[in-house]
């Protein structure tokens, strides 16, 4: 009888190789840290929540655990320190020195509790401010309520951004399509793009007056020039093969532009516009401080002046929520508008 072709073998006694043993894949210690691999849906949800919870926890720790930071002391009883007053906030080192002096001189030591600086209110104060923000009347007559300030800001942004899109979208698409338009406009646009929009503040007030017009103009200047360049580049990213295919199907120039270039880049342009809308909020803060101050940034400055830092944070958070909300709404609408786009955009 012939011996079996593959005799049973024990552990390999063959030549030792330097290969990694099969059960220990090299360089992959945890399933969570795999290079460029997506996570499970549940894990994604958890992480999204953690992305907000972790900073909140940090803020709570700093606010409610005195040993974490609390560099100041709120004076309860000034004792014999002549310049301390009840409710005054002083540095801890200063508080210690003064009390040491009093102890040496035999006077009453001051008492107080450790506290964070006024500019860092605790989460519950900000939360309370958030809840009451829209019901708290302004401190002085004639000053706008928070919702009025916000409404004004949103109007400026929408006007400026729409105006910018009205000219920027067609020009960007044309730049990305025709070399002539691109050569003629892009160098100049690029030149202006490097000038910070706020430098046009004084000029726009001189030209457009002190009301809303110069503010809209700043938003326009801040977004228009970026928009043209970004959209032109996006338009150029349309694969040439699609244009060639359309040509062999009989499409003429006008048809190529309207039936291939525009629908072909539309989802990408939409994504660009979402990012640019974020820029508009940045320029808003500048825009609202020129001419007659107004809107949410004016509200924030006023509240900071009155040292109502809880209101300041509340207003900042509201801006963030509006931004996040708009972006998520636009993202959802995008899925509706462009069903052929894969989910990852």
């Amino acid at each position: 009888m012939l011996p079996p072709l593959y005799p049973p073998t024990g552990p390999s006694t063959g030549p030792q190789s330097r290969r990694v043993p099969p059960n220990k894949p090299a360089g992959m210690p945890l399933p969570a840290f795999q290079i460029r691999k997506p996570l499970a849906r549940r894990a994604n949800l958890w992480l999204t929540q953690a992305a907000f919870l972790l900073p909140l926890l940090l803020w709570c720790a700093i606010s409610y655990l005195p040993f974490v930071w609390h560099p100041k002391v709120d004076i309860l009883d000034p004792g014999s320190v002549d310049y301390f007053q009840k409710g005054m906030q002083v540095d801890r080192s200063e508080f210690r020195e003064e009390n040491a002096k009093q102890a040496a001189a035999g006077g009453h030591p001051a008492t107080g509790t450790r506290a964070n600086p006024v500019y860092l209110p605790a989460p519950h104060l900000v939360a309370k401010a958030l809840f009451t923000a829209f019901r708290t009347p302004p401190l002085r007559d004639g000053e706008p309520w928070l919702h009025q300030s916000l409404g004004h800001s949103i109007r400026i942004i929408v006007l400026g951004f729409l105006l910018s899109a009205l000219f920027g979208v067609p020009l960007g698409i044309l730049c990305g399509t025709f070399a002539l338009v691109s050569r003629l406009s892009e160098p100049f646009v690029d030149f202006i793009r490097y000038m910070p929009a706020p430098v046009f503040g004084a000029l726009s007030v001189a030209i457009l007056g002190i009301d809303d017009a110069p503010k809209v103009a700043i938003i326009f200047i801040g977004t228009f020039f970026q928009m043209v360049l970004v959209l032109a580049n996006t338009t150029r990213s349309l694969p040439a093969a699609l244009l060639e295919a359309a040509q062999t199907l009989g499409a003429r120039r006008r048809q190529l532009l309207l039936n291939v270039v525009v629908p072909g880049v539309l989802p990408l342009l939409y994504r660009d516009m979402r990012i640019l809308l974020g820029w508009a909020w940045t320029y808003l803060i500048v825009a609202e401080l020129i001419g007659a101050s107004s809107g949410i940034s004016f509200f924030i400055y006023q509240q900071a002046k009155y040292r109502n830092y809880d209101n300041v944070y509340a207003a900042i958070i509201i801006i963030g929520l509006i931004g996040l909300g708009t972006d998520m709404a636009l993202k959802g609408l995008g899925r509706l508008f462009f069903p052929w786009e894969k989910a990852d955009t």
Binding site: A241, A246, Q247, T248, W340
Partner: protein, 307 residues
């Protein structure tokens, strides 16, 4: 190859095929290519002095013929197809389509490319409707047209899917339907199945032959796959490189209708043998690719993979 098999002469045609080629020869010529030349001159003239991409290419295509163009890489076969499609200008010679000189892309020459060129924003049906709509047909007419062509390529059930929901083979079938919906006189295909896996590729070749049989269409098919060329073509135009030129035009001696079993038939192998000789002659291999690997040993004696 060929050292153990006695193969027939690749020029031997069966009486049926002789009749077929005579019939084809008697048909009207739809595409004439005369002394076609293409030089590539870069922007700084850095192409000057290089041999032209296409030197002097002339041949004619008869109506409803199936022609494959084959050649080693760099022989200019894709460039030639793009010139015929009007996507690239020629630097010399003449290309006439139904007697008219070609000066740009047009709906009379449908093209199917290797990369997927379906419009991602249009459903399958609307992709096929694209040509008729560009030609000014109404929505209903072009929709009816599109559904008919989707039926032809067996994809009417996917009419409302978007291209990204289709497999590679399906995408190319839609691309073929889209090109045919314009009633082009010729279909120019640039390695359309090059990105597909072997099995799908085989299936697609069968589909294409079936479509060609049922539609009044002439096909010019560029490929670098010898089997594909022989399986599909009536005639194979073999191009050589630097400068791109015609080495030979082979009348394929394999009977129609074609089937997979013929891939190992003597006539099939005879043509393949001839194509190998033409495309990979002894002296051409790139010397860098042909060097033997250095003899570095990383296993132990007694652990041989082959004797």
């Amino acid at each position: 190859m060929g050292d153990t098999l006695a193969l027939p002469d690749y020029r031997d045609l069966s009486p049926d095929l002789v009749k077929r080629f005579q019939a084809i020869g008697a048909r009207e010529t739809i595409l004439e290519i005369e002394h076609l030349r293409k030089d590539f001159t870069g922007r700084n003239g850095d192409g000057a002095g290089m041999p032209p991409v296409l030197g002097d290419v002339s041949f004619q295509v008869k109506r409803r013929e199936f022609i494959c163009v084959i050649g080693a890489s760099g022989c200019g076969k894709s460039t030639m197809l793009r010139i015929l499609g009007g996507l690239e200008p020629r630097t010399g010679g003449e290309v006439r389509m139904n007697g008219h000189s070609v000066s740009g892309p047009g709906a009379d020459r449908g093209m199917v490319f290797q990369e997927y060129t379906l419009f991602p924003w249009l459903t399958v049906k609307k992709n096929v409707m694209f040509g008729p709509k560009m030609a000014g047909q109404g929505k209903d007419a072009s929709e009816a047209e599109a559904l008919q062509w989707l039926d032809m390529v067996g994809l009417s059930e996917r009419a409302n899917a978007y291209p990204h929901q289709l497999s590679g083979g399906m995408k190319q079938r839609v691309a073929i339907a889209r090109a045919l919906a314009n009633y082009p006189a010729i279909l120019l295909m640039d390695e359309p199945f090059g990105a597909l896996d072997a099995q799908t590729r085989c299936q697609m070749q069968k589909h294409l032959l079936q479509i060609w049989k049922n539609v009044d269409i002439t096909v010019l098919f560029v490929t670098h796959d010898l089997d594909e060329a022989i399986f599909l073509a009536d005639r194979i135009v073999v191009l050589g490189a630097r400068p791109g030129r015609i080495l030979e035009i082979i009348q394929v001696p394999v009977d129609r209708p074609r089937h997979q079993g013929q891939l190992l038939s003597p006539h099939f192998l005879a043509v393949k043998n001839r194509l190998e000789q033409l495309i990979h002659p002894e002296e051409t291999p790139d010397p860098e690719e042909m060097k033997d690997l250095p003899l570095v040993r990383m296993t132990q004696v007694g652990d041989e993979a082959e004797p």
